[in-house]
Amino acid sequence: MSTGGITASDPHSDSALYTALALVMDMDPALVDIVALSLRVSLSAVLTAALIGLPLGAALALWRLPGRGVVIVALNALMGLPPVVAGLGVYLLLSRAGPLGELGLLFTPSAMIIAQVVLVLPIIAALARQLVEELWGEYQEQLYSFGLSRVRAIPTLLWDARFGLITVVLAGFGRASAEVGAVLIVGGNIDGVTRVMTTAIALETSKGNLPLALGLGIVLLSLVALVNGAAYVIGEAARRRLG
């Protein structure tokens, strides 16, 4: 795949923005491929992180095990983990000499998904822990009165916290789709293989190909706006419907 068609326009022209809009409107194949890969990587990462993070957060809320405080502080701290550091960690794990080098995952979309799971999991687990713990405070006696054990209470709590948790998962998606450091290190920004929106923007900007960078920026911004809009609408609907 080549971006030759795009670079043909004058990158220094004042009409970079218009060219960018045209690329978006025309569904330029290079741009579409990059957007599709970005979505695939980030959605897979968020889905995986949610499947692990939601039950993990609920378990941390319900069980007072020794070391719980340490885990909670660690998760909260990891919410601010710099993406490049996460990328470096995953890179070391997956590189040829690393413990998981055998798998040959480095510079593949799978590696990028793993790196983003590392970034998103703490957010989902830590925030889910908070939400479920609040709800548990309210539901505990009633659920015990129903004869439910804590394990059996988890699905009920996750379902009843669903609106808050959707917002949490969307926040995780925002972090995954916007980060550049981790996917750049473990993906390598290989054209047509591991190039996603953020790494493409970084590269095209440094090359001076502003229309493609801007076009991708517009798509990325719209996506993030869409996600935040959805989070807002869901939150409002929950407030209205559930009181």
Binding site: E138, E141, Q142, Y144, S145, R152, T156, D160, L242
Partner: protein, 243 residues
């Protein structure tokens, strides 16, 4: 403080629930001390006493939500099906109908039967019109009736009610008291706390009177209201302040 042998005159009927020298301590404070009592298999027992006497605590110990620090809670004929209705009903963040089908689900009622049973209970408690409404936006009276409907579905042998009408207006109180009478007619053993003397006179077959975490009196309702033996209970019945 009080002569225990004198305080009990209800022992003829077969025992449903036995508390044997039950004490409960929390953070070094003794909140309930050395309570021994036997509840018969049928009837309506009102637990009365001033604020902080340990009424709710006694009920939570009997229901199994709390474990006594010392002593034993025994069900001589085996653990009965039991339910508890709290002062502020804890309703799940779902529709009124879904709150009821949930209860049936966790009690392993086959899916095909759940909706019909739930609708029946809603009908019985005058909630058919609000079946689809989110439970938590219902009025206080409707919420408490929904909590009663939820207990109704379990068909409990013992029903605990913790100040179920404390926050309700007279019409809603009437509805709750009617519901309690329905449970009683169906053979459910009623154990309820209240600080409302008029309500206790209307409902009680027998009264357990607590003061400062001790069992002061356990007698038939007529006896309690006309000729209580302890000075505290006599003062309480007259509406004087007791502590």
């Amino acid at each position: 403080m009080t002569d225990m042998s004198m305080a009990m005159d209800i022992q003829e009927a077969p025992a449903r629930l036995k508390l044997d020298a039950v004490s409960f301590e929390h953070r070094g404070q003794t909140l309930l001390e050395d309570v021994s009592l036997t509840l018969s298999t049928s009837g309506k027992t009102l637990i009365m006493g001033p604020n902080g006497a340990g009424k709710s605590l006694l009920m939570r110990l009997a229901h199994g939500l709390l474990q006594p620090s010392r002593g034993q809670v025994q069900w001589p004929a085996g653990q009965p099906r039991q339910a508890m209705v709290f002062q502020r009903p804890v309703l799940l963040r779902r529709s009124a109908l879904a709150n009821l089908t949930y209860t049936l689900k966790i009690n392993a009622v086959p899916r095909a039967k759940r909706r019909a049973l739930a609708h029946e209970a809603l009908e019985h408690f005058g909630l058919a019109a609000v079946a689809k409404r989110p439970a938590r936006v219902l009025s206080g009276g409707e919420q408490q009736r929904l909590a009663l409907a939820r207990a109704w579905l379990i068909n409990p042998e013992v029903l605990f009610l913790d100040e179920p009408t404390a926050a309700l207006d007279p019409a809603a109180i009437k509805a709750v008291e009617d519901a309690i009478a329905d449970f009683h007619r169906r053979g459910t053993r009623i154990v309820m706390t209240s600080h409302d003397l008029h309500q206790a006179r209307r409902l009680a077959d027998e009264v357990i009177f607590l003061c400062n975490g001790r069992l002061v009196e356990h007698s038939k309702a007529e006896t309690f209201f006309s000729a209580a033996r302890s000075a505290e209970a006599r003062a309480f019945v007259k509406g004087e302040l007791v502590w």
